[in-house]
């Protein structure tokens, strides 16, 4: 996706001062993807992260190179299934917090198969129904 920043028209006489600042385009890849090698796009379904502004059908940009931190939104693996939750470590165990009162936090018992797959860096939400 690329947007032209400025386009100086051709005019006789002095060149447009804007042309001095013409530096190409805004490249969303460059802005939103810090580490291309470790960044993956994931689509999410469900309501359990609604209050964290992750809605059904949204697109997540996930960066595996980011270190998980207290409360970050992470793509996690729990017993062989992917999920997306707020990641917390409390008293030595992992707690996965949803962002919807209708769902309850998951305390991950140490015997369960758990791993953080990647940290969510951005979410893309479609607004216009005419957008692709």
């Amino acid at each position: 996706m690329e947007l032209a920043l400025a386009a100086g028209g051709v005019a006789a006489g002095f060149p447009s001062p804007a042309q001095d600042h013409l530096e190409g385009t805004i490249d969303l890849n460059r802005e939103l993807v810090q580490h291309p090698a470790s960044t993956f796009c994931v689509r999410v379904r469900g309501e359990s992260m609604r209050e964290a502004n992750l809605l059904d059908g949204d697109l997540l940009i996930v960066d595996r190179s980011l270190e998980p931190y207290q409360g970050c939104v992470a793509v996690c693996i729990l017993d062989g299934e992917f999920t997306v939750k707020h990641f917390h470590r409390r008293e030595g165990s992992v707690v996965l917090e949803p962002a919807n009162p209708r769902f309850r936090p998951i305390v991950v018992a140490p015997d369960r198969d758990f791993a953080v797959w990647g940290v969510v860096s951005y979410a893309v939400h479609k607004i216009c129904r005419r957008a692709p």
């Binding site: 530096e23 190409g24 580490h35 291309p36 090698a37 470790s38 993956f40 796009c41 994931v42 689509r43 999410v44 379904r45 469900g46 309501e47 359990s48 992260m49 992750l54 697109l59 595996r64 190179s65 793509v75 693996i77 729990l78 017993d79 062989g80 299934e81 992917f82 999920t83 997306v84 939750k85 996965l96 949803p98 769902f103 309850r104 936090p105 998951i106 305390v107 198969d113 791993a115 797959w117």
Partner: protein
């Protein structure tokens, strides 16, 4: 020192990256048209799935043991391979990509090679999610030997093995069977067995003249490499190639699609000719485009796709290369360098056909032979393919192909966020 960074069970682990339910489970990946096993997880190996086994022969075993089966998803493997190399490049002063899942790195001057190996391994695992093993030795062949040890004894080595003393080299070579030495095939191993050699160490201990008489210059190079003498130009004329590549930088960057197409078609023709000269067929093809390193708009892209039936036919290779390049060319991004790489190479005589193959292979081969004859006689300019548009169908039988998670917008990983709540007992 040379390091070989090699992905473990590459295709199988690419599949598992997006299927956490298959972690620790047996997985096999099939070649083009679901012909035979080309990659498998350790768990599948432990169940006795033979490498290269035709799928129909293991169908029973697969059903009985619940082995997960995948068709080759070249777009996925190609993309993940690029990512592995990107991470590696950050830590590698000089690297040579040898195949889709292996790179040689010149680590001369790195003070602690073993620590470097562990760092590279953990970074690739963390950032891309794929396990690799690192073997380090004085030559490429010795780094291959070291890699074998690292893979075989993963627990003990932590996936990194360093041959930094004559004692360690000897121990590893005494362990490695001759036919597992890089560049020594079963036929060569059999010849050397007649001289009483069974292991890499036996070969390295043989008199030079005997090796040359038995295996020729190529075998002699391997012998030298095992003894720590790097063979010059080894990668150029190496006997069992895993891929064939034609790349060029352009003097002035190409801005028109037509010009890029023409260049890529030329590289593809050359690649196809190299394949036929070596009596090989390619199972898959990659096309690379790179922008000018120093101009504003930077990109470096590659696309990969598999053939329905492995081929060395110029028309098929060129057709595929063009299809790939059309999908990746960007208006306004001048191309400074382009390349075509054929991989998944199989001997021309051993190509797996398939029932629904629409191409008349014998007829195609005889046309190609006639063309090659003319080219040999009159030079490569005498006949050229008119670069023709698509229209041909390239469908492959891929009943078990996974999604193109990283290269196709409509194929992204979908995560059901609510599912874990339904499955697990919730806590208050």
């Amino acid at each position: 020192m040379i390091a070989l960074v090699d992905c473990n069970n590459f295709y199988a682990n690419c599949e598992r990256l997006f299927r956490p339910d298959l972690r620790g489970k047996p997985v096999v990946v099939l070649s083009n048209n679901d012909g035979c096993v080309v990659s498998q997880s350790d768990e599948a190996k432990a169940m006795g799935v033979p490498m290269g086994a035709p799928f129909h022969e293991i169908r029973d075993l697969v059903r009985r043991r619940g082995i997960a089966v995948f068709s080759s998803n070249y777009a996925l493997y190609g993309d993940l391979s690029t990512r592995v190399i990107q991470v590696l490049r950050v830590h590698a002063p000089y690297l040579e990509t040898y195949s889709i899942d292996e790179s040689f790195v010149d680590i001369a001057g790195i003070p602690d090679p073993a620590a470097w190996g562990r760092l590279v391994r953990s970074e690739i695992l963390r950032q891309v999610g794929l396990p690799v093993c690192v073997g380090i030795g004085r030559t490429r062949t010795l780094s291959k030997v070291a890699n074998r040890v690292a893979k075989k004894f993963k627990e003990r080595t932590g996936g990194v093995h360093l041959l930094d003393t004559p004692e360690r080299e000897e121990k590893a070579m005494r362990w490695l069977a001759l036919e597992d030495v890089w560049g020594v095939g079963t036929a060569s191993a059999r010849k050397l067995a007649l001289c009483g050699a069974r292991t890499a160490w036996d070969m390295a201990s043989m008199p030079q003249g005997l090796v040359r008489r038995t295996l020729g210059v190529v075998g002699e190079r391997t012998w030298q490499e095992l003894r720590g003498v790097p063979a010059q130009g080894l990668c150029e004329e190496e006997p069992v190639r895993r891929s064939l590549r034609t790349t060029r930088s352009f003097e002035s960057p190409l801005t028109e699609l037509a010009a890029v197409e023409e260049a890529v078609a030329t590289f593809a023709t050359r690649t196809a000719r190299k394949l036929r000269e070596r009596s090989l067929c390619a199972g898959a093809l990659s096309v690379y485009l790179r922008s000018d390193r120093f101009s504003g708009e930077r990109f470096h892209e590659s696309r990969t796709a598999g053939f329905a039936v492995a081929t060395g036919d110029a028309r098929e290779v060129v057709g595929m290369a063009l299809r790939l390049v059309r999908g990746m060319f960007r208006e306004g991004s001048p191309v400074k360098k382009a390349g075509v790489e054929a991989w998944d190479l199989v001997p021309a005589g051993a190509v797996q056909g398939h029932l629904f193959d629409a191409v008349d292979r014998p007829r195609q081969a005889s046309l190609q032979r006639a063309v090659d004859g003319l080219v040999r006689r009159w030079g490569s300019d005498v006949l050229e393919l008119a670069v023709q548009g698509g229209g041909k169908s390239w469908s492959t039988r891929q009943e078990h192909r996974s999604r193109r998670y990283t290269t196709d917008w409509n194929d992204l990983l979908v995560v059901d966020m609510d599912r874990s709540h339904r499955m697990a007992p919730a806590a208050g």
